[in-house]
Amino acid sequence: MKDRTFRQDHLLGIEHLSVDDIETILETAEAFIEVSSRDVKKVPALKGKTVVNLFFENSTRTRSSFEIAAKRLSADLINFNSSVSSLKKGETLKDTVLTLEAMNPHIIVIRHSASGAPHYLTTFARSSIVNAGDGFHEHPTQALLDALTIRQRLKTLRGLKVAIVGDILHSRVALSNILLHQKLGNEIALVGPPSLVPVEFEKLGATVYYDIRRGVKNADVVMMLRVQAERGARNYFPSIREYRNLFAIDRPIFALAARRAILMHPGPINRDVEIETSMADSDQSVILQQVTNGIAVRMAVLYLLKGEIHEALN
């Protein structure tokens, strides 16, 4: 095994990672999978470190996944929930983070509706910052856990065709995945209505399709995105019924993909909107494996960042 060194202080996005960094994270995650299969699911690697979950947007799965990951590494974890915090009382993001930092945490995991919020924190914070989703920008740990799942099932991360179907425009999951597969040199097909898949995405090295059959054809990985009704996605197409007729995945369409293709979804799924219910529960679906891998990937990220207090960037 190549001896790799991870030199990042933060995990802000796939954008800032090298292919070596990505592989180091995945290899470390592979080693952590075993910890979760033990009776005592705990190792002392981050004993004495404090991780703050700072979530300004609703999230159950990502927040609990980071929480379980931190606890399995023996770190202490604080959940900071914006709805019950001083933000409601008018405190700025910077003041909130400075206040938290006065308690000397080692790692801050942040989710925020503003794209770039995690980057902003690195300009003054001394902790390691982990982006758990920022606006329409990036969600790096999701793309990494997707990559781990692909590698487990297809035994490779190279030479693949990856089709991403749905609301590409508003999806940070899509962008992180596009950046990751672009770095790995994979073929990327983006599928959805023109209103949600602007042709500008081709500048990232992807090909845009408005016909799901063409996009999914011979794909090794079919990644469905959720119709984000809460973000106003429904203003971008005439009706859910039309969207389902044109862009939902069902068996006949999935049959066009490569023979051993896998079906992914970052969750939560809308059954019978973007994904036909029998497809979601099929053998080709790896949706629950993605969730399990999420813990291992987040453990790897927390472990590799180490949680060392350092100088702020400026």
Partner: protein, 183 residues
């Protein structure tokens, strides 16, 4: 750090004889072979353990279960490294509960790796006995740990390094003592 070879301690023939003796000693001490299991410590301890497993198979015709242990997560010096050391796989497919476990490593030195390995094993269950086999014991212990089975005791200076090379990882079986250049 630049190193040079100070001495060659063993060649492949000597290593083979020593491994055979270790296999026999382990069997001699553990009469109930069905309770016995080997656990190799990543990376070279794993290959030493595989060899001992194969020798036991040749000698007695029994297959002793063997597991792989990575102790990185249990190290006591994680905070001292500039970058986090790589985590490798742990794979122990048998229950350690009530078994006679022989931990195997290529070199025992300060004893800190073994301390970490013991902590790690106890997270998995409570073995009946836990024994230690080290191919080379080079002294300089910092903890009260002593191998039950010792391939060779090799007094060394602290600045030196014992290099156990194996066919599987290094293309060649030999044991060398290395010292920094300029000594």
């Amino acid at each position: 750090m630049d190193e040079k070879i100070k001495a060659k301690i063993m060649d492949d023939k000597k290593m083979k004889r020593t491994l055979q003796r270790l296999a026999i000693e382990i069997l001699e001490r553990n009469r109930e072979a069905d309770k016995l299991a080997l656990i190799g410590i990543q990376t070279r301890g794993v290959h030493v353990a595989r060899r001992i497993q194969a020798l036991i198979r040749e000698l007695e015709g029994v297959e002793i279960p063997m597991g792989i242990l990575d102790i990185t997560m249990f190290r006591d010096d994680l905070h001292k490294h500039e970058h986090q050391p790589a985590v490798k796989k742990t794979q122990i497919d048998f229950a350690v509960e009530d078994r006679d476990i022989v931990l195997i490593d290529d070199v025992v030195f300060t004893g800190r790796t073994i301390r970490a390995a013991m902590d790690s094993i106890f997270e998995l269950g409570r073995p009946a006995t836990l024994q230690l086999a080290a191919f080379i014991d080079r002294g300089h212990r910092e903890l009260p740990i002593c191998p039950d089975f010792r391939g060779k005791y090799l007094p060394t200076a602290r600045r030196e390094r014992v290099k156990v090379m194996l066919q599987e990882t290094d293309g060649k079986d030999q044991v060398l003592i290395m010292e920094p250049k300029g000594f």
